[in-house]
């Protein structure tokens, strides 16, 4: 079946907070799609709406030709949802949790083993341990098994890698890639900008609005200005000095360098260099660099906030 998701004009408000503002988004069947944005952006609200756990104020969404409001029971059968907060039964064992979810969807673990096999073998040695006593990485794997046990066509993962260390994060993305090869549509939310590059397309989302939807490559290709990485003996002082520089458009700490854009289209780097030298900076290095998703997100979000 077509397990694409089409979202039209979707809005949700909690009291005075407009959590989602007229979201329009199409996700293709079988796509690995990323929702990239900080806490409070509206990612969880969007997932809860798609998972039929909340009703929209305005607009709607469909998975294939199934409506999330009118046909919510069908949606629940074709959807696997892994909430951001660990929501399995802590006082049931690993195997009991999995059996429970299989039973709820009126199926059996053995009938679906092909779907979860690669992940299951990693937690099977702990199958009699209480879920509450698992490590973070193991809990995450169990939650993924439980979300997959009824062979969903669409998988919604709400911040599966938040607070997880770099090693477990990279393992988790490996699992998603192999799930994608089974044809499941996967939507994954993350606050880690670097994970955007692991998705086929991403939506950058902030304050309930989508800033941009595109492939990671096209998003960085559309970066409007020339970006420079600047390094000095004292990067923090360099940051403070560049903020005072009359031609600075933006300057941010970025790992071992500062990322700088100039307000002018054409200018001489020597000018920036001599300004910083006059401020006493030593061992300056300035080079043109390619922007990453995080640069794009910051440029788009400061623009949206009206700083530019």
């Amino acid at each position: 079946m077509n397990a694409g998701i089409s979202i039209e004009n979707l809005s949700k408000r909690y009291g005075s907070v407009q959590a989602l503002k007229h979201i329009n988004l199409d996700i293709n069947s079988g796509e690995l799609f990323g929702l990239i944005g900080p806490d409070g952006a509206g990612k969880t609200t969007l997932f809860r709406l798609l998972a039929t756990l909340l009703l929209p104020d305005k607009g709607g969404a469909r998975m294939g030709d199934i409506d999330i409001v009118g046909d919510y029971k069908q949606i629940r059968n074709l959807l696997g949802y892994m909430p951001g907060k660990f929501s399995l039964y802590q006082d049931l064992s690993v195997i009991e949790n999995l059996e429970f979810f299989a039973t709820v969807f009126d199926t059996r673990i053995e009938d679906n083993m092909d779907m979860i096999h690669d992940i299951w073998v990693q937690i099977e040695p702990f199958k009699d341990r209480l879920a509450g006593n698992l490590s973070g990485g193991m809990k995450q794997k169990l939650a993924l098994c439980c979300a997959l046990i009824h062979q969903p066509k669409v998988l919604l993962l709400d911040e599966p890698t938040t607070g997880v260390d770099a090693v477990s994060r990279s393992e988790f993305w490996q699992m998603l890639k192999s799930l994608k090869s089974k044809g499941i549509t996967i939507v994954v939310a993350t606050p880690y900008m670097d994970e955007a590059n692991l998705c086929e397309r991403v939506a950058l989302i902030k304050d309930g609005e989508i800033l941009q939807v595109n492939t990671p490559q096209e998003i960085v290709d559309q970066f409007e200005r020339k970006l420079y990485a600047i390094k000095s003996d004292d990067n923090y002082q360099c940051l403070l000095d560049l903020r005072e520089f009359e031609f600075t458009n933006s300057v941010f700490l970025f790992g071992q360098t500062l990322h700088y854009t100039d307000v002018r289209k054409e200018f001489s780097l020597e000018e920036v260099n001599s300004y910083l030298k006059s401020k006493g900076h030593l061992n300056l290095e300035i080079e043109h660099v390619k922007p990453g998703i995080e640069d794009c997100f910051m440029a788009l979000s400061t623009k949206a906030d009206g700083y530019e």
């Binding site: 900080p38 409070g40 490590s135 607070g163 606050p191 700490l253 970025f254 790992g255 071992q256 979000s301």
Partner: protein, 248 residues
């Protein structure tokens, strides 16, 4: 940073829980005003070590002093001279901004006058005067985190411990948060910070990386990248953490 003054001294720190060794012979020193990154995979033993350094848990063995106080015998003085903030616990959600400041100031024994004066300065600096009487629960996460950090150093401690302070925060706010960290470090406060963001490891003066309860690497980010022949700290971290056998 003043390299002649060591505000954290750890020598042969061990902590065992039954047969399990959570901290295996840790030794390191941190200078006054240094930004020290304390990295490690989940389960490497970071939280155990931080609890000991904050005077909340006794080590099994080792000589450890923090802000000049012994972690066995002078825990109360130690606690008065440090600040602590984590992503999980920082401010009381159902108190207002000012009530939180007053509460923390009071706990650390500041007078009413000092609390009022410093609170005014703080709210002005953070551009939060309009939010003075708003409940914490109504503030965006980014504001909360900046306020939580400022409250953690409100009593001007020798050292502040930051346990994953920026998780989930948007990239612009995350950098504003680091501005506050740099500023505090310049003012002489020592920063002891854990993070899962490897770009933030680059902002530290020195970084230690724990694997299975041991410190496997400790140096400046530049030196670590050189030693591991790595382009960035992410590669250094992955090279070390992949050798881990402890899975929490």
């Amino acid at each position: 940073m003043n390299k002649d003054v060591k505000v954290i001294k750890v020598k042969n720190l061990c902590k065992k829980f039954g047969d399990f060794t959570a901290n295996n012979n840790l030794s390191f020193e941190v200078s006054k005003g240094e930004i020290f990154g304390f990295l490690g995979a989940n389960g490497a033993g970071k939280t155990t070590a931080i609890k000991i350094l904050c005077g909340l848990s006794y080590p099994t063995s080792g000589e450890i002093s923090v802000a000049g106080f012994d972690v066995y015998k002078q825990r109360e003085q130690l606690k008065r001279n440090i600040g602590y903030m984590s992503q999980k616990f920082s401010l009381y959600e159902d108190l207002t901004v000012f009530e939180n400041i007053r509460f923390y100031g009071g706990i650390y024994g500041l007078s009413k006058e000092v609390i009022h004066r410093k609170a005014d300065d703080l709210l002005k600096k953070l551009d939060l005067q309009h939010a003075r009487n708003k409940r914490i629960s109504s503030l965006p996460l980014g504001w909360k985190q900046k306020l939580a950090f400022s409250v953690a150093i409100f009593h001007n401690p020798e050292i502040v411990f930051l346990d994953e302070p920026t998780g989930g925060v948007d990239p612009v706010t995350r950098r504003q948060f680091w501005d506050l960290i740099y500023e505090a470090a310049r003012g002489g406060i020592t920063i002891f910070v854990t993070t899962h963001y490897m770009d933030e490891a680059e902002y530290c003066d020195r970084v230690s990386i724990m694997v299975d309860g041991k410190i496997e690497a400790l140096d400046t980010p530049a030196k670590l990248k050189e030693d591991f022949n790595a382009g960035d700290m992410d590669q250094v971290f992955l090279a070390l953490a992949r050798t881990a056998t402890n899975v929490e």
